[in-house]
Symmetry: none
Subunit: 214 residues, 4 copies
DNA sequence: TATGAATGAGCTTTCATTCAT
DNA sequence: AATGAATGAAAGCTCATTCAT
């Protein structure tokens, strides 16, 4: 009489799938063109559904974007947490891996929110709390990785972990948006690696410090 | 008819002045509200001129913003060049000063381009070439400061100057937009200073290296 | 398959019941929000059925509203006819009672058709003829009451009954919509009663006339 | 240097003219199709201007309709006031003339507001006060006419003037919207006249009363 | 030269109606 | 028979850009 437990309502699954489809396409358009230039009709067309259908899933454009942000933050956080489990590898390598993964897989975060009334959008998300949790969660996950490095003697304990997180994300953000990188000589990948390592240099325990500590 | 040679420009000078006025006001609106929410009519009103007059100076909204970007880049570059002259001060201090100045005096660069079709905007600027020059100029000016530091033995010569520049600007950008910083504990100013210094730590010549070099 | 002849209607009766349910709820929404703001989905939800089901009964929103109007006219007419039976009471009192009942129990007739393309709606109803019959029936039922009054010597025979009917309904309509009444001093109920009586004054046989008739 | 006093800015006059044009056409469409079915684009087309131009004069559709209402009330009031001046004619005749003029000149008051969220619209107008003044002014102007009739011994002083006003407007409203009248036999004009007179009968001083007063 | 009235493409959002399940 | 997901026409409103004055 009722749906088998292994098949949670089919309908629901299809709905979820379509939602995923919308979000993915929207994320692409968002990172390509920014909030204002994401046109609902165009989005629908690309997904291959009617304009109104989007509104069945996301009552306002704002909500659509909010969902994308949350999804992104969630993915990033789980990525980082996964890395936090591999305690056999040095923290610095794991962090670098995380950063590369973020940079590669991810999406012009910077551009994404262009032209939303970003202030209002974020404000709204913030009021809804979930954004706060997600962002805080992301930052803390990253900080945990750094703390692992400190505990392992890799990183300098005098450097505030949260400050390091900010610096790392700063580099990610900048490398992600092509603004500057586009103007630099050399391969993009090289620049990325070198930049990440530069920040690490500031974070690593210095031989001299160890010396001094004796 | 009788334009004196020393003042061929009365007209021209007024024109230039007004152009400056437009740009200044536009820059403010831009950093406050982003590209899409910069409304030409509102701008004209604030400047105290007619809407159409703006179009006498900048045929398209895009051009107006392009001019602002160029002007900003120019100012930054000259700021940095000025600092490059004060060779009596340590490079690291001068760089930090530059960074603070950029961050303080500056303009939500991040928000400024929100809602432009950034790709198209930049593409257009690029086609006009001048953007390329300006950005390259800015990066190179900064790189020169770093090179000075290297020459003075402050900075590690093995670190690529351009990479360092990218990292520095990355931090600036991130600290400028409140996205992350807003989620951090502590005073904004403290976070900024700490972040800058973290990058410097990675740049400074390490005592241990010196030791090893002996 | 085995529908007993006395109850061929189990299905049919249920269908009729649901139709009644839809109409009642629709009438409420209609009088509260007007035609345009009557949303089919909301209606379905309130009735507790699926949106599509409504369309099984009424192929178009227009038809739904048409049915409501007819039902309303029918009810009013039967109300009046019932009153026409109580010949022991004075016609004027019975008419006043009818009017109060209409005003009280009734439904912002005025608001109900807000936002329909009333012309088209009525046109459509008219094409279906039935509307004409209903309205005529209503007016005639009321006229019959007045004629009773004339026969009883209560009302002046020189006043055209139909004109009196129009005037009476005019007052009802106006008193029903709060537009004017809201701007008047005094209690709503008092205004209503006084207005009705004013029209009656014009309808009653005048003592002076009687005098003259002697 | 400044515009001659007899020619108040030409611009301003043209603007006023166009505004008048918009209002007139809007009033027609409004009375024909009701608020919801008044489509801004269609209105613009009929007036022969661009859609946006309307918004230059009336920032919201609501404002446009508000202006129409005010204009209408103003015209009515001044019509009535003018009539109030002709004290040489009997009040009843002047009132009848006013009513005919109202009915002829303005038609679908009733239909005009259909489908606005009338509640909100009126609420808004009411909050803005101006509506209150206008409507009160209109009712009072009419009441003044009736008072003149009372003073002249034409009308019965025991009938509340405001109640009479309500009844008169009730008739106007009803006769204006074709709902009922369309279903009546006879000429529209005749019905109108007869209805008005019926109400007057209720208002006039009765010979019998005079008799009694002796 | 400077203006701002006029324009209309373009956007988000709503909702009657259809139709596969 | 009953449902509600999907659709897309339609509508109000904004604002970059033009152009008559």
């Amino acid at each position: 009489m009722n749906a088998s437990p292994t098949q949670p309502t089919l309908r629901v699954r299809q709905r979820k799938e379509r939602e995923e489809l919308i979000l993915s396409e929207a994320e692409r358009l968002l990172s390509e063109h920014g909030y204002q230039n994401l046109v609902m009709e165009q989005l629908a067309e690309r997904v291959g559904i009617g304009k109104g259908t989007i509104y069945l899933h996301f009552p306002r454009k704002e909500d659509l974007v909010g969902a994308i942000v949350e999804r992104g933050l969630e993915q990033l956080t789980s990525n980082i947490d996964e890395m936090a489990g591999r305690t056999e590898e040095p923290a610095s390598e794991r962090i670098e891996a995380v950063m590369h993964r973020i940079i590669d897989g991810h999406i012009g975060w910077t551009r994404m929110f262009e032209g939303s009334d970003a202030r209002e959008l974020l404000e709204g998300l913030r009021r809804g709390q979930s954004m706060n949790h997600r962002v805080s969660g992301l930052l803390q996950a990253m900080a945990r990785l750094i703390d692992q490095g400190k505990a392992a003697g890799e990183f300098d304990e005098t450097v505030d972990s949260m400050v390091a997180v900010v610096a790392l994300f700063a580099v990610i953000r900048s490398l992600t948006s092509s603004n500057l990188v586009g103007h630099l000589p050399g391969e993009r990948a090289d620049i990325i690696s070198a930049s990440i390592r530069l920040v690490f240099r500031g974070l690593l325990v210095r031989p001299a410090d160890k010396e001094a500590a004796r």
